[in-house]
Symmetry: C2
DNA sequence: CTTTCATATGAATGATTGTTCATATGTTCA
DNA sequence: TGAACATATGAACAATCATTCATATGAAAG
C-alpha cells in the first residue's frame, strides 16, 4: 500500500523546518477540494488546440459540425468528440436545424477567459 | 502515409454542402497557428489540480518548496516538478534565500485568469 | 418505407503527462 | 573540507487523452 505522506515528507524536509504558521494559514484560505478540481477540469478543456480553434470559429459565427470540420481541416469525428467535451463543460450549446446541428457559444465567460489568456502570452 | 484531409472529409460531408462563405470568413479571423498553440499550452498549465493548488497558496504568501509540499500534503519532488512547469509558463518566479528557494506569483494575470474560471464554474 | 445525409459514439491506438524513486546539485554551518 | 539540508532532475510507470476507423442514430426527401 501507499506509505503515509507525512512519513515520506519527513524523509526529505524535517518537520521542525516547516513554517507551520504559514502552512496553516494558506491551507485555511484554500477553496474546497471539489471546487479546485472543477476549476482544473475547466481549464483542461481550454488546454487543447483543437478546442481553442473551435471556440475561435464560434466567436465569429454559429456553425454546423461539417463546417467546423472544414474550417479546421479536420475529420468530422474528431470535431464531434471535442464538441462533446466543450458542451459538457457548458462552454457551447447546440440546436438542431433539419439534418444539421448548429453549435454556438454558451455565454460570454468563454471570450473573457480566452482574452485573459491571450493577454498573458502577449506580454 | 496519411490520406489527404479534404479527401477524407468528402467521404462524410459532401463539398457542395459546406457553407464555403462562412468557413472562409471564420478562418480569416483566426489568430496565427502558433498563437493558438501557445494559448492552449498556457491553459494546459492551469488544467491540473496540483498546479491550481500551488497557485492558490502563493496567492496568500510567498513560500519555499518544502512548505508548499507540506501545505498540499504531497512529496517534495512532485511539487518541484510542477513548480518548474509553472515557472516555464512564467506564472511564478523564484528567489534564493539561503538553502531555501522562495516561490511567488509572477504577476496579476494569474489571479485574473483563475478568478474568471471560478466565475464560470460558480454560475 | 427506404435511401441519403449529418452527426454521434465506441473501441483501439499512439502520444502526453503526473507522480514516484533514486540521485545530483548547490548552499550553509561546523 | 565535510556533513547536513533544501531543491532539482532524470528515468520509469500508470493513467489520461486526442484522433482514427467503423458503425450507429436520427432527420429529411424521394
Amino acid at each position: 500500500m501507499e506509505r503515509d505522506r507525512k512519513e515520506r515528507y519527513e524523509e526529505v524536509c524535517q518537520e521542525v523546518h516547516v513554517h507551520e504558521d504559514v502552512v496553516n494559514f494558506v491551507t485555511g484560505e484554500m477553496p474546497e477540494e471539489e471546487t479546485l478540481y472543477d476549476l482544473a477540469e475547466l481549464f483542461k478543456v481550454f488546454g487543447d488546440t483543437t478546442r481553442i480553434k473551435i471556440l475561435y470559429v464560434l466567436f465569429e459565427s454559429d456553425m454546423c459540425v461539417c463546417d467546423i470540420a472544414a474550417a479546421l481541416n479536420m475529420g468530422q469525428s474528431a470535431i464531434s468528440h471535442q464538441l462533446r467535451v466543450l458542451k459538457q463543460a457548458q462552454l457551447i450549446k447546440s440546436r438542431r436545424d433539419g439534418k444539421q446541428v448548429i453549435y454556438s457559444l454558451a455565454d460570454d465567460h468563454v471570450r473573457t477567459i480566452i482574452n485573459n489568456g491571450m493577454e498573458h502570452i502577449m506580454e
